[in-house]
C-alpha cells in the first residue's frame, strides 16, 4: 500500500501524539485557552486525542481584563459545549495583590501576562502548560522545543535547551519546574486556517470582516475601545476590518478586510504580504529581540 498522509493529517497526528505524551508523562497539565484560533485548533486536537474520555487537563485563560466581549463569550460557550473545566487567571487579581504594577494605567498589559501565568502555575501546581505557539510566528519561536523546559522562575534559557530528537519528548521535571508544550509547533498560519476550514471549527466573530470604528496611527489600524481611546486630533473612521490574531485589546490591531468566510480568509492569507505578528501585534515591533526577551521572563 502506498501511503502518504496529507500535510494536515500529518500535522494533526503529530499534535495528537504530543498531547498524549503530555497526558502520559505529566501529572498535572493544563491547556492554555485564549479563545483565539490557534488555541481552538488545540481544543480540536484534544478532542481527537482523548474522546470519548474527558480531557486529562483543565483549560486556563490568562485574562488581562482587556478583551473583546465577543471573544470572552465565545470562550465560555466553547468550554460549556466541551463540558470541560475552565480556570480564569486574572491579571487584575495580580494587580490587586500588588504583584503586577503597571507603569501607567493605560500601559499595554500583554507582557504582564507572564506574572499571572507563573502565579497560576504555582498556585495550581501545574507541571505542564500546553500552548498554541507556532515556530513560524517569530524568530525566537523558530528555536523553541516542542517540550520546552522552564526553571522554577519560569525562565526559558535559549542556550541551555534540552535537545529534542526523533519523536521522543522528555517532559520530566522536578517539583516547581515546568514544561511548556507546543503541539502545533510545526504548523504555519496557512495550516491553521486550512485545519479550521477542514474541521469546520467555529471562531469568535471578530475573526471575520465587520464594521468597526478605528483610527490610523503610525501606519497601524487602531480599534477604538474604552481602553484605546483616540487622541484629540485623530479622526475616527468606520472601516471593514477583521482580526488575524486576538489578544489583549491594547496590543492587537485588525487589518482592513472584506473576508467574511474561512474560504475568503484563506484566499487573503495566501496573497498577504505581511507576517501575522508584524501586521497585528503591536507589542512585537518594539525591538528585534522583544519576543526572545519576554520568553526568557516566562512568557509562553
Amino acid at each position: 500500500m502506498k501511503n502518504k498522509l496529507s500535510h494536515l493529517d500529518w500535522l494533526e497526528s503529530e499534535a495528537i501524539h504530543i498531547m498524549r505524551e503530555v497526558a502520559g508523562q505529566c501529572s498535572n497539565p493544563v491547556l492554555l485557552f485564549s479563545g483565539g484560533k490557534d488555541s481552538l485548533c488545540l481544543l480540536r486536537i484534544a478532542e481527537k486525542a482523548f474522546r470519548p474520555g474527558r480531557f486529562p487537563f483543565p483549560l486556563m485563560h490568562i485574562d488581562t481584563g482587556h478583551n473583546y466581549p465577543e471573544v470572552i463569550n465565545f470562550r465560555d460557550k466553547k468550554t460549556k459545549e466541551l463540558g470541560e473545566r475552565l480556570i480564569v487567571a486574572s491579571l487584575e487579581d495580580s494587580m490587586r495583590k500588588g504583584t503586577v504594577v503597571l507603569k501607567t494605567p493605560d500601559e499595554p498589559r500583554n507582557k504582564y501576562q507572564s506574572i499571572t501565568l507563573l502565579e497560576a502555575i504555582e498556585e495550581n501546581e501545574f507541571d505542564c502548560c500546553i500552548g498554541g505557539a507556532r515556530r513560524d510566528e517569530e524568530k525566537a519561536r523558530a528555536k523553541e522545543r516542542i517540550m520546552s523546559f522552564r526553571d522554577e522562575f519560569g525562565q526559558w534559557d535559549p542556550k541551555n535547551q534540552r535537545p529534542e530528537l526523533w519523536n521522543l519528548y522528555n517532559a520530566k521535571v522536578h517539583k516547581g519546574e515546568n514544561i511548556r508544550s507546543f503541539p502545533i509547533s510545526n504548523w504555519t498560519e496557512m495550516d491553521v486556517w486550512q485545519y479550521i476550514e477542514r474541521e469546520s471549527l467555529e471562531l469568535p466573530s471578530i475573526y471575520f470582516a465587520h464594521e468597526r470604528d478605528i483610527v490610523k496611527r503610525n501606519g497601524a489600524i487602531v480599534p477604538i475601545t474604552e481602553v484605546t481611546p483616540p487622541t484629540p486630533d485623530e479622526k475616527i473612521e468606520n472601516m471593514m476590518v477583521r482580526f488575524r490574531t486576538v489578544g489583549d485589546i491594547t496590543c492587537t490591531a485588525p487589518v482592513a478586510s472584506s473576508a467574511d468566510s474561512i474560504e475568503k480568509i484563506i484566499m487573503e492569507t495566501a496573497s498577504t504580504v505581511i507576517t501575522e505578528r508584524g501586521e497585528t501585534r503591536l507589542d512585537d515591533q518594539v525591538s528585534e529581540a522583544s519576543m526572545e526577551q519576554r520568553k526568557k521572563e516566562g512568557y509562553f
Binding site: 500500500m1 501511503n3 502518504k4 498522509l5 496529507s6 500535510h7 500529518w10 500535522l11 494533526e12 497526528s13 503529530e14 495528537i16 501524539h17 498524549r20 505524551e21 497526558a23 502520559g24 478532542e47 481527537k48 482523548f50 474522546r51 470519548p52 474520555g53 474527558r54 486529562p56 515556530r135 524568530k139 525566537a140 523558530a142 528555536k143 535559549p158 542556550k159 535547551q161 534540552r162 535537545p163 529534542e164 530528537l165 526523533w166 521522543l168 522528555n170 520530566k172 522536578h174 509547533s185 510545526n186 504555519t188 496557512m190 495550516d191 486550512q194 484563506i266 484566499m267 495566501a270 504580504v273 505581511i274 507576517t275 508584524g278 501586521e279 528585534e288 529581540a289 526572545e292 526577551q293
Partner: protein
C-alpha cells in the same frame, strides 16, 4: 505563503554546512524564491543589510535567530523553517555546522528524511564535509543532496564541479555511504545569485540535471520497512468511567501513534512485553471509526478481549517474533556538558517506555574528524561512541537500520532529568 493546496505531503530535510559555505544564504534563497518571505521581514532585512554596509539584500539574515547568535555571528541551535509549494510542505531543520555542534546536527538529522550537504566550490571537500556525511549516515538519512555552492566564484567551471563530485563519490565509497538504499544527488549552484535553487539561471547551462527545488519536489521518500511490521506503542489508556453516557462505562481503548506497519479491524495482535493476544475491535481517529490505519497515524484502538495493557506496552501483529530485550549495543551521541561515566545509572526513554540503564562497556569512540575508532572510558559533549547497555526493564526494540522509530532512544540524567544522550540500536543481545 501563496499555496492553498490542502493535500501537500510533508518532507522534512536538514541543511549541513557553515555560514561560510553559504548555508544561510541558501535557505534564505529557497524561502525568498518560493515567496515565503513577507514584506515586513524583508524590510527588516533591508534595514540590517544597509546597517552592515551591504549593497544587495543579505539573504542570510532571514535565518538569523537569537540575540546571542547575532552578537557572535554564529548559529547556536537548530532552527525550524517552513515553506510549501503546492506539492509538498517542507520543514527545514537548520543545523549549525561548527565542530562543537555535532549534537545539533544529530538532533536535526533525527527527524530529517533528506540532507543537503553544502560544499564551497572554491574549497572542495573539507573535514566538515566528511563529518557531515558520516553523521547523516549514522542517523540513517536515505537521501543526500550534495550542493556545490558558490559556483559563481569559480566562473561556473564544469571541471571544478566534476572534480568535487568525483572526490565526494570516492569518499562515499570509503565510508560505505553509497549503499543501494541511499540516494546521492549532486547539484552545482550559486545561492547568492539564485542559480539552480528555484530558477535555473543563465550561467550553468552545461548542467542538465534538476534544480534544488525540483529535486526536493520529486524525491521518493517512501520507506519499504514502514509498510511491514506493525509497531504501535501505547501512549495512553482511555477509560471514560465517569462519563454520563452509560454505554461508555465499560469502554476501554488504547491510544498511540502507529510507528510502522498497518492495522486493520479483526487483525490478530499481541501485546508486548506480556505476550497476551487479542484482536482489533474498532479503530478510531477522533470520533471517526475507520477500518484500517497506517504508519504515522495517531489512533484509538479497542480490542475484543479484556487484557491488561498500559502505557509503555507495544501492540504488534500476533505472529511477530519480536520480544522484549534487556541488553543491547548502540551508537550514542553524547549531548550533555557533563561527561558520561561508566559507573552511573541513567534513564533510557524508548518509544513510550522508560527504563533504568547501566553501561556494560564503552566499546569504542569515533574520532569524528578522522573517522577512526579510539578507546574511551568516558564521553564528553559531541562524542560519538559504541556502547553496550544493561536495562532494568525490557524494551521492545528493533535495530535502527530496520526501524528508525523503534531503534532509537534518548538517555536522561536521573538527577537533573535533562536529555544527555541519543542512541541508535546496532545489535540486540
Amino acid at each position: 505563503m501563496n499555496d492553498t493546496n490542502k493535500n501537500n505531503t510533508v518532507l522534512r530535510f536538514m541543511t549541513c554546512g557553515s555560514v561560510d559555505d553559504g548555508k544561510s544564504t541558501l535557505i534564505g534563497r529557497l524561502l525568498y524564491d518560493t515567496k515565503t518571505i513577507l514584506t515586513d521581514t524583508l524590510s527588516q532585512i533591508e534595514k540590517t543589510s544597509k546597517k552592515k554596509g551591504m549593497t544587495a539584500l543579505d539573504l542570510s539574515l532571514i535565518t538569523d535567530g537569537l540575540q546571542a547568535e547575532r552578537e557572535q555571528g554564529i548559529t547556536i541551535d537548530v532552527a525550524y523553517r517552513y515553506f510549501s509549494t503546492g506539492t509538498r510542505k517542507y520543514i527545514i531543520a537548520d543545523a549549525p555546522g561548527h565542530e562543537q555542534y555535532t549534537r545539533n546536527m544529530v538532533t536535526a538529522a533525527s527527524t530529517a528524511q533528506l540532507a543537503i550537504i553544502l560544499i564551497d566550490a572554491r574549497k572542495g571537500m573539507l573535514t566538515q564535509t566528511r563529518r557531515h556525511s558520516y553523521l547523516t549516515k549514522l542517523v540513517g538519512i536515505k537521501h543526500i543532496i550534495v550542493a556545490i555552492n558558490k559556483m559563481d566564484l569559480v566562473n561556473y567551471n564544469e571541471s571544478e564541479y566534476k572534480a568535487i563530485c568525483e572526490e565526494y563519490n570516492s569518499f562515499a565509497s570509503a565510508i560505505k555511504l553509497n549503499q543501494p538504499e541511499v540516494n546521492i544527488d549532486f547539484i552545482p549552484m550559486s545561492a547568492l545569485n539564485g542559480d539552480m535553487i528555484v530558477d535555473r539561471g543563465q550561467s550553468l547551462n552545461w548542467y542538465k540535471g534538476s534544480t534544488l527545488l525540483e529535486t526536493l519536489e520529486t524525491v521518493d521518500t517512501s520507506e519499504k520497512t514502514k509498510n511491514t511490521q506493525l509497531r504501535l506503542p501505547v501512549q495512553y489508556v482511555c477509560r471514560p468511567r465517569d462519563s454520563t453516557n452509560e454505554d461508555l462505562h465499560d469502554f476501554r481503548a488504547f491510544m498511540g501513534r502507529i510507528e510502522s506497519g498497518l492495522l486493520k479491524i479483526n487483525d490478530k495482535i499481541k501485546v508486548l512485553p506480556s505476550g497476551h493476544e487479542s484482536s482489533v475491535k474498532e479503530i478510531r481517529i477522533g470520533e471517526k471509526l475507520i477500518s484500517e490505519a497506517t504508519y504515522e497515524q495517531s489512533v484509538t484502538v479497542s480490542l475484543n478481549d479484556e487484557i491488561d495493557i498500559s502505557r509503555g506496552d507495544m501492540l504488534v501483529q500476533k505472529e511477530d517474533i519480536l520480544k522484549g530485550s534487556k541488553s543491547f549495543t548502540a551508537n550514542v551521541c553524547w549531548l550533555s556538558e557533563s561527561n558520561l561515566t561508566l559507573n552511573r545509572t541513567y534513564l533510557i526513554m524508548h518509544t513510550t517506555r522508560l527504563s533504568k540503564a547501566k553501561i556494560s562497556s564503552i566499546n569504542y569512540k569515533i574520532n569524528i574528524n578522522t573517522l577512526e575508532t579510539e578507546q574511551a572510558i568516558e564521553l564528553q559533549t559531541n562524542d560519538i561512541a559504541n556502547i553496550s547497555f544493561k536495562l532494568a526493564q525490557p524494551l521492545i526494540i528493533d535495530l535502527y537500520s530496520q526501524n528508525r522509530s523503534t531503534g532509537c532512544f534518548i538517555i536522561i540524567d536521573e538527577t537533573t532529568f535533562h536529555t544527555v544522550g541519543a542512541g541508535m540500536i546496532e545489535s540486540i543481545e
